[in-house]
């Protein structure tokens, strides 16, 4: 396709004309410039990369998980794969990456350097070890380097360098409590957060164990172990490494609802600060994470997909949201959704029926089909293709509302 040539002109930088709203607040004994922080990941592994992220306006960064010198990090490539859905790429992202190849010596250096260059930003580090001495040594050295808080990875699902390969630390309640205690013992100055996994029978039990250990916070939750797909011609799953594959850690928009559940379940049952991570990509995702109990929100996959520049929309969107809601601070969002979460037996039982707005209906009959084959055969066809709900048969399940392609066309209303 022939294109007109783009001539790059002498571009001056635009003068910002809109004031930036103060999004700062305190959480975990620290002052956060905004609730958006970079999760421990490739984006926080190299000094030059982190620096760019912080310059662009991120509140802070958790440097990629490090370990004690001599620990062998045996990476295998390619490590990335994706879950594409309905024409959308990267709906979920899978990785078989491991922890950083940089050992603690390099990370200490990076922490010192970043803290000096960005004293106002939150510089944290993520650690992983096996033995007690190593966990404690890592904590002590990072504290000395000037880190603001430490995150302990108890849950890297893609490979495990601990003493019990194949099992994540946070899948054992007693091991979680014990290890978290070691870490907390060593931390004299800075808060520690335990990064747990949603791959457990009862997340509340794990959170309680963290609480008992005395750790300051927990990070919920890590990526989800997943098989990203199978090549249906060769039968080699993704990512493909010369005929072999393994389970990936899945992140991205696809796991957001799972993370929301994990965070809210912890927040409803255990009194401990939570750093939210796993599936947040927009400012409204952050609102949701905070509403169910996250104090700050970590971003990773969205940055790896679209770059650090997404911070512009995160900050702008959050500011306008606060204005619209007449909230004074992002803290006003905190835990706002929790009172609305109940157990199933506590839910109100009302007579609900589907209402189709004939004026906005586009006659696709998607609702008719869904109700016929997956509901209660409660929608009737009409010669004009505008479906009609039979309120005798409709139970108000809500399926039609969700298959309807038009915003707000079908609504569930209380039946009088």
């Amino acid at each position: 396709m022939k294109k007109s040539k783009v001539v790059s002109e002498n571009i001056y930088s635009e003068i910002p004309i809109y004031p930036q709203r103060d999004l700062s607040y305190d959480f975990l004994g620290l002052h956060w410039e905004n609730p958006f922080i970079l999760a421990a990941a490739p984006s926080t592994d190299e000094l030059d990369i982190v620096r760019r992220g912080l310059q662009m306006g991120w509140a802070g960064a958790i440097l990629k998980t490090t370990s004690i010198e001599g620990n062998i990090v045996d990476l295998a490539y390619p490590m990335m794969s994706t879950f594409n859905h309905d024409g959308k790429k990267l709906f979920g992202m899978g990785n078989i990456d491991l922890i950083s190849e940089h050992h603690i010596d390099k990370v200490e250096y990076n922490v010192r350097k970043l803290k000096k260059e960005f004293p106002e930003k939150i510089i944290a580090a993520s650690i992983m070890a096996g033995r007690k001495e190593d966990w404690q040594r890592l904590v002590e050295r990072l504290e000395k380097a000037g880190v603001d808080f430490i995150e302990c990875s108890f849950s890297c699902p893609q490979g495990n360098i601990g003493e019990d390969p194949g099992k994540m630390l946070a899948q054992s309640i007693s091991a979680t409590e014990l290890t978290a205690k070691w870490v907390k013992e060593a931390a004299r100055r800075v808060p520690v957060s335990i990064k747990i996994t949603p791959h457990v029978t009862d997340i509340v039990d794990v959170a309680k164990a963290v609480k008992r250990s005395g750790a300051d916070a927990l990070t919920a939750a890590n990526s989800l172990q997943a098989l990203m797909g199978v090549d249906i011609k060769t039968f080699v799953p993704y990512p493909q490494l010369n005929g072999k594959s393994t389970y990936s850690g899945m992140t991205g928009p696809a796991i957001k609802p799972l993370t929301l559940r994990t965070i809210s379940e912890i927040a409803r049952n255990v009194d401990i600060p939570i750093l939210g991570t796993g599936g947040a990509s927009t400012w409204s995702d952050a609102v949701e994470f905070m509403a169910v109990g996250a104090g700050v929100v970590q971003y990773c996959t969205a940055v790896m997909h679209y770059g650090f520049r997404i911070i512009d929309d995160l900050k702008s969107g959050m500011s306008h949201y606060l204005d619209e809601m007449k909230f004074k601070s992002v803290k006003d969002i905190y835990r706002k959704a929790l009172p609305h979460i109940a157990t199933h037996d506590e839910l109100p039982r009302r007579k609900i029926r589907s209402h189709i707005n004939e004026a906005t209906c586009i006659q696709c009959e998607a609702c008719y089909l869904a109700c016929r084959d997956g509901g209660h055969m409660a929608i009737d066809r009409n010669p004009n293709r505008i479906p009609k709900v039979d309120w005798e048969r409709c139970v108000g399940c809500g399926l039609c509302e969700h298959v309807c392609p038009v915003d707000g066309c079908i609504e569930m209303k209380v039946f009088k």
Binding site: K3, Y12, Y18, D313, G317, H320
Partner: protein, 424 residues
């Protein structure tokens, strides 16, 4: 885009925004003369941050609503959209308009106070380039007085047909912008210019064109013959009350002639014929304008040259001669039309509109060095042959786009600011 086309719904905008590839160093940003950060505002529409999207647009382009409505996207942003390599380009202008109109319907975002850096600048001409320059200078902290002989708005106000741009859409921009500089209704004649020159630290000329070029043919003074600007201005003022008779002939071939032809058709003419001396391939028009004129039923007779306007007192027709294209090209790179002997014919007409180009109306222009086409000559800083006097818009480049004029004003503002900063 005309008023017949409906603005995107929230859902349409979101779906379209989701198609954007979010290119790095996006070609659309480069192609936009005002360099709107297009991927950024589109990502904001996608995330539901509509107010943020409007802010991004307005930070770069002061005439946000006007450009959102009528900017010829096919020659700018959309012409280089990488999505076109996959399927079809993103409807960037529509998304831009959706964002700014959504904001205009609510309350405008609060703008932060601009710095005060002193020095006074006079801007002559209240069209897009004058407004673009005045607003950018205000952002930079300069005190600006804008002079216009009529009201703010320039070409969008006076001659862009209201079926393409409504008064409300224009006012949405002017309401937002006019509070940042003072506006004086005053015609700047040659004498007054000297006074301004003494009073202000710098002057920006956004005087535009405004003078219709005559055909130079017999019969041009007959009643019923209109120069195009007069015709379009009258049509905007009188609206439907203006009568053009049954048959209208427009002489032209540019965008303005298409505007005039489509306007005549909307005013009730039974037959509107646009005559152009070359073929469709040589027409320098935007696709959207051509489509709109054809949709209105305008007939275009290519390879037709006017010879004489006929009639007694009132026009009754126009005598034309067929042309053929020679192999020789003129300086614009287009083949030169040659008249075909013995091919004369007369088109009947109740109204004849002459739309063959414009020149600068303002008489202060005589003080400045001009380029080969008769427009004001400027250097790369938009400075004219007179020190501290700058110029931009149509007055330096001939009939151009609104967005180009705004960009001139913006760039000149930065040059003026820099020079004033050096002055004690």
């Amino acid at each position: 885009m005309t008023n017949d086309q409906i603005q995107m719904t929230n859902q349409q905008a979101r779906v379209e925004a989701e198609r954007c590839l979010q290119c790095f160093d996006a070609p659309c940003v480069q192609a936009c003369p005002t360099h709107i950060q297009i991927p950024t505002f589109i990502s904001m529409i996608k995330s539901g941050n509509i107010r943020g999207a409007a802010e991004v647009v307005k930070t770069s382009n002061a005439m946000a609503n006007v450009c959102g409505k009528i900017c010829p996207e096919e020659v700018y942003c959309q012409s280089v959209c990488n999505r076109a390599n996959e399927d079809t380009p993103i409807q960037i202008r529509e998304l831009h308009f959706y964002a700014t109109q959504s904001e205009a319907r609510k309350k405008f975002s609060q703008v932060k106070p601009f710095p005060k850096s002193g020095k006074q600048v006079a801007v002559i001409g209240g069209g897009p380039t004058g407004i673009g320059c005045a607003f950018e200078l205000a952002k930079l902290g300069r005190e600006v007085t804008l002079f216009d002989r009529k009201v703010l708005g320039g070409v969008p106000k006076n001659s862009i047909p209201s079926f393409r741009l409504t008064e409300n859409e224009l006012q949405d921009d002017l309401k937002f912008l006019s509070t940042y500089f003072s506006v004086k209704k005053e015609e700047i004649t040659d004498v007054k210019f000297s006074q301004l020159k003494n009073k202000f630290d710098a002057i920006y000329l956004g005087v535009g064109l405004g003078k219709d070029r005559p055909l130079g043919l017999k019969g041009e003074n007959l009643s019923g013959v209109y120069p195009v600007l007069k015709f379009l201005e009258a049509a905007k003022v009188k609206q439907k009350k203006m009568s053009v008779g049954k048959k209208v002939v427009v002489v032209g071939g540019g965008n303005v002639s298409l505007d005039a032809a489509a306007t005549a058709k909307r005013l009730g003419a039974f037959e509107v014929i646009l005559i152009y001396r070359r073929s469709e391939a040589e027409m320098k028009v935007w696709k959207s304008e051509l489509e709109e004129a054809r949709k209105q039923g305008v007939e275009i007779r290519f390879m037709t040259n006017p010879l004489e306007i006929v009639g007694t007192k009132k026009v009754s027709g126009i005598k034309c001669r067929r042309t053929t294209l020679s192999k020789k090209k003129d300086e614009s790179g287009r083949p030169i039309p040659v008249e075909v002997k013995g091919s004369d014919f007369i088109l009947e007409a109740d109204t004849v509109i002459i739309a063959i180009g414009q020149s600068i109306a303002s008489d202060i222009v005589n003080r400045f060095k001009r380029n080969s086409k008769g427009f004001i000559a400027v250097d790369k800083n938009y400075q004219t042959s007179m020190k501290s006097v700058f110029a931009g818009g149509d007055a330096i480049s001939g009939e151009g786009t609104i967005v180009q004029s705004v960009a001139h004003g913006k760039q000149a503002a930065h040059a003026i600011h820099k020079i004033l900063a050096g002055k004690k």
